[in-house]
Point group: none
Chain length 199, copies 4
């Protein structure tokens, strides 16, 4: 369906994808031109079209990779804990790491709105949803008081997580520590004791 599977020339495609991820994340989709990408990868503009059919397809490929990367990290992290709260905290930390530390792919997913590329908006949204559904599973495992709206709580948590790139500074609090802070209020709500220790 997308350009990511069929054509895998030795080394240019990953470089192209990386460059696209970096620029889309940093400047946004519309502010990044194919020429910028060509310059960043030392290709000619025409050469890009050997690897990918259009700018939108390129965004889609980055999105796919981005979602996959968050998913992989989050699942791997979650697998290291069995207790729901701990598992959720690990998942949050992995998500934050993906968005703050790792490459730019994950940042594209939260920065570029599906609406920005109308013709593939539906596909982009689906990709986003694919991840959110997974996150929702970890979230569903924690027990919140019945009078609270769990959906809102989940979306609030997601919002808090996705807003971190706006304020996160490199030398500050560690990612796992931030994850714990984000979860602490919900833990209090549930009457759970906060986790001990930190990096």
């Amino acid at each position: 369906m997308t350009a990511s599977s069929a054509k895998r020339q030795p080394n240019r495609w990953p470089a192209l994808l990386d460059a696209a991820a970096a620029q889309f994340a940093e400047r946004g989709y519309h502010a990044t031109s194919m020429r910028d990408l060509a310059a960043a990868t030392a290709m000619t503009p025409g050469a890009i079209y050997f690897h990918v059919a259009s700018k939108q397809a390129l965004l889609l490929a980055v999105y796919e990779e981005g979602v996959q990367r968050i998913l992989d990290r989050v699942e791997a992290a979650a697998a290291t804990a069995r207790e729901p709260w701990a598992r959720l905290e690990k998942a949050i930390a992995a998500h934050l790491a993906a968005v703050l530390d790792a490459g730019a792919y994950a940042r594209v997913v939260i920065r570029i709105l599906p609406h920005d590329a109308p013709e593939i908006a539906a596909e982009l949204k689906q990709l986003r949803d694919r991840y959110e559904a997974r996150f929702a599973r970890y979230f569903a495992a924690i027990a919140l008081p019945r009078e609270r709206d769990a959906a809102v709580a989940r979306l609030a948590l997601l919002g808090a997580m996705n807003w971190t790139p706006v304020w996160y500074k490199d030398g500050g609090k560690s990612v796992p520590a931030i994850a714990r802070e984000l979860l602490a209020p919900l833990r209090a709500l549930a009457g759970a004791k906060p986790a001990r220790g930190a990096k």
Copy 2:
């Protein structure tokens, strides 16, 4: 919208600002062209430049108005409550209302990153900060356990609030109800009892 027949209306500037706010909020800054704006206001592209010097200046004007509107609503709302938690909740509800219900101005402030218009990025950031500083004051009044990081908590709350446009649907939970939900975990953290009832 209403300007179909008359030739000489005064006051095209508010209409232009409205249109810019709407389009910037919906499609983003780069995806909105001056032509789009001209079409939306039934002006010629050239006529826009009688009212504003550049697209960036237009964004700045929208930003200013947006920040002012949030600020006005939030301050008015906060003034109706004296108790810190109640006041914060009112402020949150007003912020959400500005971002979700009211015109598009407030949404521009949270959607368009300063970075998008490099030459005025500093001014845009300053405007954002002006609001966040005000919000920080309401937040500072609530007492959180000493072992929690209040700054992270505040930024998380702000992230949760600013992410709502992504998921909010018109017929769903009421804005004050969402505000209460967003605050509930922090209340629990502080050991405060949740507020009673609401719309």
Copy 3:
């Protein structure tokens, strides 16, 4: 025929003409916009069109004034000497003064080529020629060796004079001194003794 005769509102027209002369001389005709002129005279663009019918007409008016000013100065100066060489030298000095020291009008005449405003090119050329014919009369009175081409000599002198704005610096040699230097070679050619002393 032009706008300079009929409409003479108390004070704006001269200011407008001055501004046009200054800007045309400094930036050139095409690089000067009616808006620039409006700004420089504290008028609205529309108001300019009360005084003058078009940008071309404005150039024409400046040209007319410019030629008139050179002519007036040159004639007045020439009238103070009877001997041909002395008269020519006075004329040259007056021309240089008009072009270097005085307002910008004269500089417009030598900077802006008739071709720049095609529709009035003929009129502009006629104005230029009007002055050059007068200058030619002073030139014709000096006696050059028969084997020299007097026309080329005259045009060379004119070229030398009109090129001075390119290199003239305010604190340098005085205008009459430059005039004497320009004429000296021709004097030598004619076997005449150079004039004595000057400022």
Copy 4:
């Protein structure tokens, strides 16, 4: 001019440069639009930007070529004579030929003021100066009476030369003859005998 049918000619850059030189020389910098240039070279406006980054860069390229061409011709001509006056006369003739007969490049250098393209004004001025410095060397070799200002004489000569495009008509006096006429007065000043012969 010759590019009516073939679809893929290489080397459009020289044609573009030629067209720019021709139009800049004839109409001036500001009066020449990129569209004009596109039409004159049978390119689309966009295609021009494959070859050159901006209109200013195009002017700079023409200027460089123009200065180089004058320099080449003048140096070649000057190399054919050893005696200072003869060498200077050859140099003048070569300069005139460059400005009057040859392509438009040289005329651009004397017609377009550095000021016309503010962002590259310094570079343009430097190019002009490069030539004038060379010319000054030839000029310095002739001996003028001590009481004359050699600098003014040189600038006057340059002015006379650069003004020729204003009045030169094709069927008139030959270029070498004009050169001789321009130099004759200075020769007289120096007490030198005028050169014999002519075309």
